[in-house]
Subunit: 627 residues, 2 copies
């Protein structure tokens, strides 16, 4: 059993699990699977071990990145290849640490992954996908009729379907028996090129929409002809092992060609694995995916394509290119339908990428009248302002605090996570958890609530400092950082106090300030007062679940009547889905990406003062001037 963290006790080892970076102290002699299960108790990623940890199934593979482990057991030698072992792979149920370790849980081994938010609005869009199906007759090839399947297809497409030019993907011809027999064949065409051939009546054509984020990758399998989402799923971006923020990853890519190659491969493989995991649920192989749209921020796009990044890693953060791209899937090492394409959503600027274009499309901002603010909160937060004079955007480095990272009791939005915090009439705290279970930690949507109630109760100053003289404030164990006890150990599901620390609060405050300063400058440049906004659209998983009253109270969002806000879920993912099924939307995305004007915050002389003002935890517009 694990000890509580105590560096003086020599019989424990610190085990850090990636990709999320959770760590615990593990008593020596215990396996990594036990460590993973202990961590899983508070909602973190767990390791899948169908055989129950008996060393039989070989599924609980983890990779030792750093630190000493006992030699492989007989079970490991049986279930892992010499290459696997050389690559640092071990079975979590067998591997026993000899010291402190850094361990990676591969995406495919992560058990019970929470599905990402897929609660965007349904696709209210007439499908007009670039991929379509046609069925054409074929007859056996004979001496009197020496025509291959493809030659018959060519003729039929030209004569019966009026195609002026007929193209067939050369790789598809390579992999198809030219004399295969049947009476008819169903083709998938991308525009006028045949990209797949089916002998048996196939499933309706499927496409993959991807929101490739810095932290998370969300995928959606969509029926191209109907726009119906069949499966949605999310995984962590495995590049995270090279840094949580984009600048760390760009720096890693700058270290050399091999490093850049590794980052590209990690993202490509993750998309491939995500697709494979989803399509397995439909009983199909990845070859059934006949079109793909990827919406990503500019850095993720550059890393995916191995583009030059030196100029993107420093001010003024210049993108090599932000144009729309059409690649063949195999160019991204994706084993989808041969000949199938990948559309990369066009972006606008160095830190306003295709994900933001997709977010605008997904939330319909471009179709609205009046003054509309769109905020897509993530590790990087993009803000767009729609005015009758045009659209303007900017990007803020808000960091991952709202996603629970670097918050002592931060966790994902799964069962047992505190999602709401309120002050009771008797000035106590009241918590709501997902699923009503005993609380395990705080998910993103509770962060703003905590700040708000601590402000309401006078525990936290407007400048973000905990009042050490307040009876609810104590010093954290083992250090001198003030913290507030939220839930006593006995009432939790983890057997430890759940607290929020001064450090946690500072992280949240910085994230809030980055976003609020961006909103303020964007409004200022358009000569607008926050009250002139007709609508505020809040996108992203965090944005969808945040409490608007709290967000307004601490100055994250403008002080406006509740009916002017709309929380739209993963609008970027929704936009990617729309682009998957509509050629018209693709053209619109290109026009949009070119027409939105970009404001580089770092280049604004008044950004530092705007940021300083936004640090105040007060409603927007009521902050004192910091000068």
């Amino acid at each position: 059993m694990p000890s509580t963290p105590n560096p003086s006790k020599p019989t424990t080892h610190t085990i850090t699990f990636l990709p999320v970076g959770r760590r615990l102290e593990l008593e020596s002699g215990h396996s990594l699977l036990e460590a993973a299960r202990l961590l899983a108790a508070d909602g973190s990623d767990s390791v899948d071990a169908p055989c129950g940890g008996l060393g039989l199934c070989g599924r609980c593979r983890v990779r030792i990145l750093e630190g000493p482990v006992e030699p492989p057991t007989a079970a490991e030698k049986r279930l892992l290849s010499a290459e696997d072992l050389a690559d640092g792979l071990r079975l979590a149920c067998q591997a026993v640490p000899r010291g402190s370790l850094r361990v990676e849980i591969p995406p495919e081994v992560l058990a019970s992954q929470p599905f990402l938010q897929v609660d965007g609005q349904p696709l209210a869009l007439e499908p007009d996908p670039p991929v379509r199906r046609l069925t054409v007759p074929v007859r056996p090839t004979g001496t009197d009729r020496p025509l291959s399947v493809w030659q018959q297809v060519e003729r039929s497409l030209s004569e019966d379907h009026g195609l002026e030019t007929v193209r067939i993907d050369p790789a598809l011809v390579r992999s198809t028996d030219p004399l295969a027999a049947g009476t008819e064949v169903t083709l998938s065409l991308y525009e006028d090129e045949v990209i797949a051939l089916h002998w048996t009546p196939p499933q309706p054509p499927l496409g993959l929409a991807v929101d490739l984020g810095t932290t998370k990758i969300a995928g959606y399998l969509v029926e191209l002809e109907t726009g119906r989402v069949r499966v949605a799923h999310g995984i962590m971006n495995p590049q995270i092992r090279y840094g949580e923020d984009v600048i760390s990853r760009l720096s890693h890519a700058l270290a050399g060609r091999e490093q850049a190659r590794t980052l590209a491969r990690l993202a490509r493989q993750a998309i491939g694995q995500l697709a494979a995991a989803m399509i397995r649920r439909l009983g199909c192989s990845p070859a059934a995916i006949e079109d793909t749209v990827i919406a990503a921020n500019t850095a993720m796009t550059h890393l995916l394509l191995e583009w030059p990044v030196a100029q993107l890693a420093q001010a003024p953060y210049v993108a090599a290119s932000t144009a729309a791209l059409e690649l063949k899937a195999y160019e991204l090492e994706l084993d989808f339908s041969p000949g199938s394409r990948v559309f990369l959503v066009p972006g606008m600027a160095g830190f306003v990428g295709g994900d933001h274009t997709a977010m605008i499309l997904g939330s319909d901002i471009h179709t609205l009248d009046g003054h509309v603010l769109g905020v897509d909160i993530g590790t990087n937060t993009e803000i767009v302002l729609r005015t009758p004079a045009g659209m303007f955007c900017c990007s803020c480095a808000s960091g991952p605090a709202f996603e629970g990272a670097h918050i002592q009791h931060g966790m994902r939005a799964v069962q047992g996570a505190i999602c709401r915090v309120r002050t009771t009439p008797d000035n106590a705290l009241q918590f709501s958890t997902i699923g009503g279970r005993a609380p395990l930690g705080l998910c993103g949507s509770a962060m703003l609530d905590v700040v708000r109630v601590l402000r309401e109760q006078g525990i936290l100053s407007p400048t973000g400092i905990l009042d050490r003289s307040h009876p609810r404030v104590r010093l954290g164990m083992g250090d001198s950082t003030p913290e507030v006890l939220l839930v006593e150990a006995a009432a939790t599901g983890i057997g430890r106090d759940i607290v929020i620390t001064q450090r946690d609060l500072s992280s949240i405050q910085l994230a809030k300030a980055a976003i609020a300063a961006g909103i303020a400058l964007l409004l200022d440049r358009c000569g607008l007062d926050p009250h002139a906004l007709d609508q505020v659209i809040v996108a992203g998983a965090f944005g969808t679940h945040l409490d608007l009253e709290s967000a307004v109270a601490i100055g994250l969002l403008p002080q406006l009547p509740p009916e002017r806000f709309r929380q739209v879920g993963n609008a970027a993912g929704l936009g990617a889905q729309r682009l998957l099924i509509s050629r018209q939307e693709r053209r619109r995305a290109e026009r949009l990406a070119r027409s939105v004007r970009y404001l580089e915050l770092a280049a604004q002389a008044d950004f530092p003062s705007a940021f300083a003002r936004a640090l105040y935890l007060r409603p927007m517009g009521s902050e004192p001037d910091p000068d």
Copy 2:
């Protein structure tokens, strides 16, 4: 010095040089370079040895395919890598045979290669190439203007040039400095995709047209904007080491994936080497090639693309696909401009490929009125018949006899080759040679003449048999094959009698019969008499130089007045050039390839009897019925 062939003399070795298959007896102790030079005396391929054979320059590399050689000398160990030696490479000036050898001269080592026929008509065509140039302004990237070169390009293409969708080849973005400085940049676009970027005012855009033949590969560097041919050049198809005819090569490809891969790589490398050799003459690198068109027969196309060939290697000879293809050049391992395309000309049937479509376009047959016959003579001969009711085509396995292969004194059309033979008033033979030099051998255009004069003089029967009782007929040295002395040793440039053998004559007769039978059946199926033909177009290097009177006299071509014939040179190459500079021609090629109807000769019940009739060396229509 070489001995004359004499198997009883043990001090000589038989050296066979590929790709052309010339052989000689070499006295032991002499080097391969000496052997090559001896062969070169009669116009065959020679080996380039700039240092004069002193083992200094390392250029005269040849590959030993079979047979024993003395161990490598110090010079070879210095100038060749261990990999080279393991690969069978040796320096011809150093390598001394220990026994009979088969030796390949790599294409790049072949000296004084004759330029192929490039005497087609000039391109009478308004250029409308898919590749075009645009120059757009760029300004330095700064904090106030954080726009990369590409982002500025995107904006200009959209705003100044009205492109609705802007695409930039991702590999081009990868290889370009996003902050490179200048005041304007010239772009090459393929349709609406940017495929090249030039900082200094570039040469006019160049394209490559390729006629990829079974025996020869002809290339043309063409200015895309004017249609002007800048360089034309030809090399042997290096696949020839796996067989001279297409069936041998298809069989080799069928032996396994690796074999198929090798054949594909040989063709791709040869095209790359041909392009590099040509573009060097203009002081450019292959990256300056911005578009490519390849016209090839169906087998060459399949081998180039590693497509399935089992069904193509046997009756009814089914092509996997004959549709037009657009690939990126890098997909064929060609290091042309990043993003540049390759257009493969669409074909019609198993043995009527894109080269025939290109030939039709190049000779304008499709635009003519009345009844027009087009014959493109090569290792495989394609025949097209244009009638008011439509176009029909067929393909004949005519073999390489007309290209000089398997003819004892056959040679290429270079200086010293006999190109015309006539009967003098006193019944003697009169020869014309290229350049008026002492004769070295017979090139293709003399073959038909020889048959004709031997027929005229009663030496050769209508069934192709030499009259052994005729005083001009003798038995060849060392065997009992009858032969006719054409030029006595003293009058030649090779110091040996130039003869034509019964075996040579049979090869020519078979080739003639294959073509004539094809013409006869095609006319028959359209209910046409040969005299109904308004025009006969004869294409190909051989077809251009043959003597029409001879061809008519022995029944290769229909008996028509001379003014109805037109000899058009390498019409396939000309067609490829037209396709390179005209989008309209590409659309026309696709319509044409689909509309021409194919007659599979092997499937015609009366083909054997038509062939038997065509064996007669008499004017077409005057043959007796063989039954």
